[in-house]
């Protein structure tokens, strides 16, 4: 693996051997490096869980906040300093479960941030319960008769909200995953990358082999500007498509608010404020 500025010498992770998180870490670093980004201008924002530990293994700025709450913090970080590149990253439980409401409304706001979700269809850090994306019938110590709820479909939800960019990757293919992440970071606007990531400790069902057999890449001819076609692909759950589903560049949160100056360089216009105060005398 090529060395990058984001590496930490002699770093050890808290991830299990064989976990997809290791390869996601490498793929992300490679993408950032390819894009010529530097640690000083990047902020990694995460919530809680095994995936959310990823900033710990990065040489960069980070905001490791609360479970499910990475997105609101990420939106505000980008708005307070549009010069920063912001990547919000956590697992499926964090982003789609605890943070489900923020997921919906962040897509609507369209901040220029990248949202990477490690989707292993199971809870890791709490040891093996169902996640919002667990497939029906998946047996766990809590879902003892198997999962009965419909799995959350993040791509379909995102496309229905006219997301600016949405893709799915499988970390069994690190090269393609890195390329997809790169496209997402380069994209101006909110970009979701849902990454299939096997959990060898708690999900014996959705393994590397299973993902390989049940996924395929969208054809080269697939037109990612077609929203309905993208939605159709997102609805496919027998064989799961990979690649960039949909792209729709549109004004971002900061474009709409016309924010250019980072907050810390703003100067309060006391003259204007005095005017506003005295206007209340009339």
């Amino acid at each position: 693996m090529k060395k990058t500025d984001f590496d930490i010498e002699g770093m050890e992770t808290a991830w299990c051997p064989g976990c997809g998180d290791h390869a996601i870490l490498s793929a992300l670093k490679a993408s950032l490096d390819n894009l010529g980004l530097t640690p000083g201008k990047l902020v990694m924002v995460s919530g809680i869980g095994q995936a959310a530990k990823i900033p710990q293994y990065f040489n960069t700025n980070y905001f490791n906040g609360l479970h499910g709450r990475a997105l609101p913090a990420a939106v505000a970080i980008k708005a307070s300093n549009p010069e920063l590149t912001v990547v919000a990253e956590s697992g499926d439980g964090d982003m789609y479960g605890e943070g489900g409401n923020h997921f919906i409304h962040t897509i609507r706001r369209n901040p220029d941030i990248t949202n990477i979700v490690h989707n292993n269809m199971v809870y890791g850090l709490t040891k093996g319960q169902a996640s919002p994306t667990s497939r029906r019938g998946f047996v766990t110590p809590v879902q003892v008769s198997g999962v009965m709820s419909e799995p959350f479909n993040p791509l379909a939800v995102a496309i229905s909200l006219d997301v600016s960019f949405v893709a799915r990757a499988f970390i069994g293919d690190q090269q393609r995953t890195s390329e997809i992440i790169e496209a997402a970071i380069k994209h101006r606007g909110y970009a979701l990358v849902d990454i299939f990531q096997p959990c060898p400790s708690f999900n014996k069902q959705n393994t590397y082999k299973w993902f390989r057999e049940n996924t395929y890449y969208l054809e080269d001819s697939f037109d990612s500007s077609e929203r309905l076609a993208a939605l159709g692909k997102a609805f496919q759950t027998d064989r799961l498509p990979l690649g960039i589903f949909y792209r729709n560049e549109k004004p971002t949160f900061t474009d709409n608010l016309r924010i250019k100056t980072p907050g810390y360089r703003k100067i309060v216009d006391f003259k204007r404020l005095n005017g506003l105060i005295s206007s209340l005398a009339s």
Binding site: P39, G40, K41, V43, V45, I48, K53, P55, Q56, N59, T60, N61, Y62, F63, N64, G65, L66, R69, L71, P72, A73, A74, V75, A76, I77, K78, A79, S80, N81, E83, L84, N101, H102, I104, H105, L257, R258, I259, T261, P262, G263, Y264, R265, K266, I267, V268, D269, F270, R272, L273, N274, L276, I277, S278, L280, A281, S282
Partner: protein, 582 residues
């Protein structure tokens, strides 16, 4: 018989009641501003139901040649716009009350309990001019005449209010006001009413110029202006009564002052956005009421752990749960005091007036930045919705004190220091990296389970309280410093106690008003410890401030004046209840 108005001067207390959607708020705004520009002091409070149309709402407006600070029970002039709303406030109607209005809104019983009822066909008068919706302007004209307000000022206000609806609408509104003016002149001619306040004004002939230059402002606007003066560049809020006024005020002025005004999906997003903004160098405000704040608590704890500044405005209303959404209470002091899991320092401010709301909100941003901790501003519905005149806020000595350092290579966000304060860097400003973690962390900000680091970091975070305690807002003292009885209050009770004490005129009582309930100023503790009798006044059921003072001094309050029915204290009520405990 001629009814002289008011019976007990020098101010006149006017109540206009009706249902939601009748335009009472516009009426109030036009009346208070016209009165102020004519040289009167004004004080107006609202009581309204949690609905968009219908129900019973009332606005109590005091107009006075002398400064007024609080709400009164007394009604000198009642103008009912519906029958139900008049019935709802019947307990406040006495022989000193004059009711002017339409017969259909005034029951026999109501009319009997009042001093006088004069039947005036507001709606008919308005209908003659075009439509009954102009009746509010007829009312306005009548009251303006009664107070000898300058008709030209009223006309200008009406023009400004309605000009975007076209000149025809402006003209009818002005005609309606004129009609109201004439109606009142008719009453005087018929010897039905004598306006003492008008006579007093005419007799002295001098209009206090300094009042004309004062601003007319609500508590919500004062918090909003204070936030702007404090360098606030981000407000994250979910609409919730009675805090919404702050959000709408800042949203209205967002573009001109470079503020991001974001309506969040929920309060959890609100506080996490606010903390994210501070992390990246912004100065954010989260604003809500008790229920929304309950949702923010985990975020408060996050701010504490990552030593992030954050300012949270809590406009209190009665709880638990949804409670009385549009009424007032001081029930959330302990909620703020103990909010968030874990142990950490915090600061709680509680302004007592519009002016304090402005200056303390401004200060809140500097305090948060300096001490890197959550700062709460506790207001309530009464303070939010009260409109009063006050000296224009002086921004001369105000500064946006930013405590952000440019980072160097190897920067440690949580570098250990004697004071416990670590220089705060932000990402993208300097050569260092800024790493913050909600997990326990080391000096770099990286996650740790080293238990000795844990102890060191807890001590470091708590150490800042020593610094915070050196920088506490002084209490306001009203009365004789050597008085045997010390009455302590906080937040919005400032005005009502001030005014009540004027009429009690006792030398034996000192009022100590606390604008910073936490940490408490040493002076407060000393005054309580040295008091012959120690009393508290609070708008809650259990005496939360009394409990906090007991915790600090060991001293139990000798008496508590409490109220928790959803309404604010009134001057008469405080007079009476202080009298009872004295």
């Amino acid at each position: 018989m001629t009814f002289s108005l008011p019976k007990k001067g020098p101010d006149i207390s006017i109540v206009i009641c009706g249902e939601a959607g009748q335009g009472i708020q516009t009426l109030e705004s036009l009346l208070t501003r016209t009165a102020k520009l004519s040289g009167y002091h004004v004080f107006s409070t609202k009581e309204y139901m949690s609905r968009v149309r219908g129900g019973s709402n009332s606005t109590s407006i005091r107009i006075s040649p002398e400064r007024v600070y609080a709400a009164v029970d007394r009604i000198d002039l009642l103008i009912p716009l519906t029958a139900a709303s008049a019935e709802r406030i019947k307990d406040r109607i006495t022989a000193d009350t004059l009711i002017i209005g339409e017969r259909k809104f005034v029951s026999e019983a109501l009319s009997r309990s009042s001093g006088e009822f004069i039947d005036i066909p507001f709606t008919e008068t308005a209908k003659k001019l075009g439509r009954s919706i102009y009746s509010n302007q007829v009312v306005l004209g009548l009251v303006a005449s009664l107070l000898a307000l300058d008709i030209n000022i009223l006309k200008a206000k009406l023009r400004a209010e309605f000009e975007d609806k076209g000149s025809e609408i402006v003209d009818i509104n002005i005609k309606a006001a004129h009609a109201g003016y004439s109606l009142y002149e008719g009453l005087i001619k018929d010897d039905k009413v004598i306006s003492e306040i008008k006579k007093a004004g005419e007799a002295t002939g001098d209009v206090p110029e300094e009042v004309k230059g004062e601003i007319v402002i609500s508590g919500a606007e004062a918090v909003g202006l204070g936030a702007i003066a404090g360098g606030c560049d981000f407000i994250a809020a979910y609409p919730m009564s009675p805090s919404t006024g702050v959000l709408t005020f800042l949203a209205k002025h967002a573009e001109e002052f470079g503020i991001v005004a974001e309506q969040c999906e929920d309060e959890i997003a609100g506080i996490n956005m606010a903390i994210g903004a501070w992390y990246a160098g912004g100065r954010a405000l989260a604003s809500t009421s008790g229920g929304g704040f309950a949702l923010m608590e985990e975020g408060v704890s996050l701010a504490a752990m990552i030593e992030s500044p954050v300012v949270v405005h809590i406009a209190q209303r009665p709880g638990p749960a949804t409670g009385l959404p549009t009424r007032t209470e001081q029930g959330d002091l302990e909620l703020a005091l103990y909010s968030g899991h874990g142990e950490f320092p915090r600061i709680i401010l509680a302004p007592g007036s519009a002016a304090e709301a402005f200056y303390l909100t401004q200060k809140a941003f500097n305090l948060a930045d300096r001490y890197q901790c959550p700062v709460f501003i506790l207001t309530d519905q009464y303070l939010m919705d009260t409109v009063t005149n006050t000296t224009p806020f002086d921004t001369g000595g105000l500064e946006v004190e930013r405590h952000i350092v440019k980072t160097e290579e190897g920067y440690k966000r949580y570098a250990l220091t004697d004071s416990g304060l670590s220089p705060r860097g932000i990402p993208g400003n300097g050569r260092g990296l800024v790493m913050v973690d909600s997990d326990e962390h080391d000096e770099d900000g990286r996650i740790t389970e080293d238990l000795s680091v844990r102890t060191t970091m807890v001590d470091k975070r708590l150490r800042r309280l020593t610094l915070i305690k050196e920088d506490i807002v002084e209490p306001t003292l009203i009365g004789d410093k050597d008085a045997k009885t010390v009455l302590v209050g906080w937040g919005s009770t400032l005005g009502v106690v001030r005014e009540a004490l004027t009429s009690i005129n006792s030398e034996d009582i000192l009022f100590v008003h606390i604008a910073q309930p936490y940490p408490l100023h040493q002076k407060v503790l000393e005054l309580v410890e040295g008091a012959g009798r120690f009393l508290v006044i609070e708008g809650n059921a259990t005496g939360q401030l009394a409990r906090l003072i007991k915790l600090e001094t060991g001293r139990e309050a000798d008496g508590k004046i409490l109220k928790y029915n959803g309404l604010q204290f009134t001057v008469e009520e405080v007079e009476e209840r202080i009298g009872e405990v004295l």
